[in-house]
Symmetry: C2
Subunit: 381 residues, 2 copies
């Protein structure tokens, strides 16, 4: 077990009817909020009205910044920064999934920075200040509601990069599972795959696998994600399954699931970001394609024991090969693609995808060259 | 799954050689520390010197308050409060197990309160301010290093009561598993039993047991505590087992293991506090006596399904009866007493123990009368 630091100051308010508690919390931070949301799904499920109501009741004026894309883009982040500065906003309220929260974090930091917000994503600068961030989560997946990271795509350079800093932890995140009851099956699938991906990166890439407690936590959360997804597929209105899914996805990337693993590599994410930067597919869909391919590569490179351990604990599988098949079977059952062709991506694009992935692989210090990435991706044909 | 709030701002610094990081963190809070510790075990394992060194190197003066008892007593807390006020301490540094940390929390709050510190324990007042608290944990058990509660015994009234408030979260807790390598087997056993007790109270007393994610977390942590204890019993110098044990015990009572369980009852703790208030036995030892008796009572009162579920996941047992036997077998294997007689407590004392327990049972709102508590305790004869 490697040394680690753990600190996560986010205040989570979880459960039915909790959006009304946003206003009193947000009012402690300021009186004018940039209200960030996506394509309008929050106008259909009542979240939009509930957020405006609690903010207004607590004397908070709102300036809207809508239209955040599923893979949030830099140009829209920059617009948000301009708006927040021009309108003198003193806080940011995000209502949506990980994309909306990620864009909100980037705007919050960009507003308190003299340079260009993209600097945070290419390691040219680290955010030292940010507007206080409040979130209302409507899609369990990325864990952004309880961590200090964010991912944005520079659509000009086709770079889907990440930034992180302690000032980017939300102050308060409201998690009301009822807001997820109407989610389309594809979003349920993508969220489940994303949560699983967060659990496996540390587990399979740790240099020090003698870590009983974190292994147990990873198995526990993976089992919970899988069981909850299966319940949701059967009965989309199953509140307790929605609730377990929501809290599991949050815990999958709030720091807990990697304590003591040491320097993990995030190689699946590095490769996937290239897929969604090029083809604008959902992050979860991209991960469902990359992970089985990477697992096969990992099995051929010393990963047998860990794959067998994970599979035995989570799927009840008998060996490493069966574990990989069980991952694929779950992704398919959830409705996610598991091959490039299933997402309409031609195998001939592999060299270009790999070349693009090298940017992030180098930035994150992942040990892999382009030939290795191409080889991994060839497992997804 | 019930609604819940989760917020835990403690900064955990975990691993080998981390005590040296205390000074720089503590220096942010002040320049004069009340340094609280127990009977002197920290002078044998190098912790005392390491703490003084890092504090001195960072310009922090120390005033020592030693002699904290395993069940910390109110008179000693009051002495600490007087000393901290007289010496104008601006922070508290605790080095030891849960008792030392609990007493430090009480002193930290008592120093910033005009009334008597006992007021916090009998719900006469709630701590609104406290000196900032820094801890170096040397005994994994109570979870006090990452929560906002503390337990103190009023030796005059024989009341072992608890207090809690957000200001009692430590600012920073240093968890170096190497400091636990020399722990005597009895303390390992008591710590393991205490951690298990924290996991089971919510699990078995929740009014809403459809909570896949928290159930999985509880199973995971219980398995980790049990597996780590067994490794430590075999090889006390097994660092990774010590590390897993330490982090598991912390996570068992930092809020995570009860998310969504709703109003849990803590009945085992309420009864145990009476045992250790009367006989000054270790908290873990008392819990190992109370829990099997309470499980038998619980089985007779609708607890069969949960006992079977927990046992299947944690012990591989086939039914509720087997689960209770497996708990007992684990406590015995660890070296803890499982019957009143094994701790030298006469069965004839049961009415007095139960009468004393009623104080806490009423204060905590546990639904049980004295006859029921006596009946539970009769299962421990």
């Amino acid at each position: 077990m490697q040394n680690f630091n753990f600190n996560n100051p986010v205040r989570v308010i979880f459960g039915k009817g909790t959006i009304a508690r946003l206003g009193p919390e947000a009012a402690k931070a300021g009186k004018k909020a940039l209200f960030v949301y996506g394509g309008g799904s929050i106008k259909k499920n009542g979240v939009y009205e509930a957020v405006l109501k609690t903010l207004a009741e607590n004397g908070i004026e709102t300036v809207e910044h809508s239209g955040v894309k599923p893979n949030p883009v830099l140009s829209h982040v920059r617009e948000g920064v301009k708006k927040a500065i021009a309108e003198k906003c003193s806080l940011v309220v995000a209502a949506g999934g990980g994309s909306v929260i990620d864009e909100s974090k980037a705007i919050a930091a960009g507003t308190r920075y003299a340079g260009d917000v993209w600097d945070f994503f290419i390691d040219k600068a680290r955010a030292k200040e940010a507007l206080p961030i409040f979130t209302v989560l409507t899609l369990p997946a990325t864990g952004s509601e309880m961590n200090s990271g964010c991912v944005v795509t520079n659509e000009e350079t086709k770079q889907k990069y990440s930034a992180g800093a302690p000032v980017l932890f939300p102050k308060v995140s409201i998690l009301d599972p009822e807001t997820t009851i109407g989610l389309p099956p594809a979003q349920v699938a993508n969220g489940a795959v994303d949560a699983i991906a967060h659990l496996v990166e540390g587990y399979f890439t740790t240099p020090d696998p003698d870590n009983a407690v974190t292994d147990e936590m990873v198995h526990a959360l993976a089992r919970s994600v899988i069981a909850s997804t299966e319940r949701i597929l059967k009965d989309p209105s199953d509140y307790n399954a929605r609730a377990s899914m929501m809290w599991s996805a949050t815990l999958a990337l709030n720091g807990l699931a990697s304590c003591g693993y040491g320097r993990m590599s995030f190689i699946n994410h590095a490769i996937e970001h290239s897929l969604s930067a090029f083809y604008d597919i959902a992050h979860g869909a991209g991960l469902a394609i990359v992970m089985p391919a990477w697992f096969k590569h990992h099995l051929a490179n010393g990963g047998e024991e860990r794959l067998a351990k994970f599979g035995a604990a989570v799927f009840g599988s008998g060996n490493a090969q069966e574990t990989i098949k069980a991952f694929e079977a779950f992704f398919k059952k959830a409705g996610a693609p598991v091959r490039l062709s299933e997402a309409g991506i031609p195998a001939g694009d592999i060299p270009a995808i790999a070349a693009n992935a090298m940017g992030l692989i180098k930035l994150w210090g992942v040990k892999a060259d382009q030939a290795e990435v191409e080889k991994i991706l060839s497992g997804a044909i």
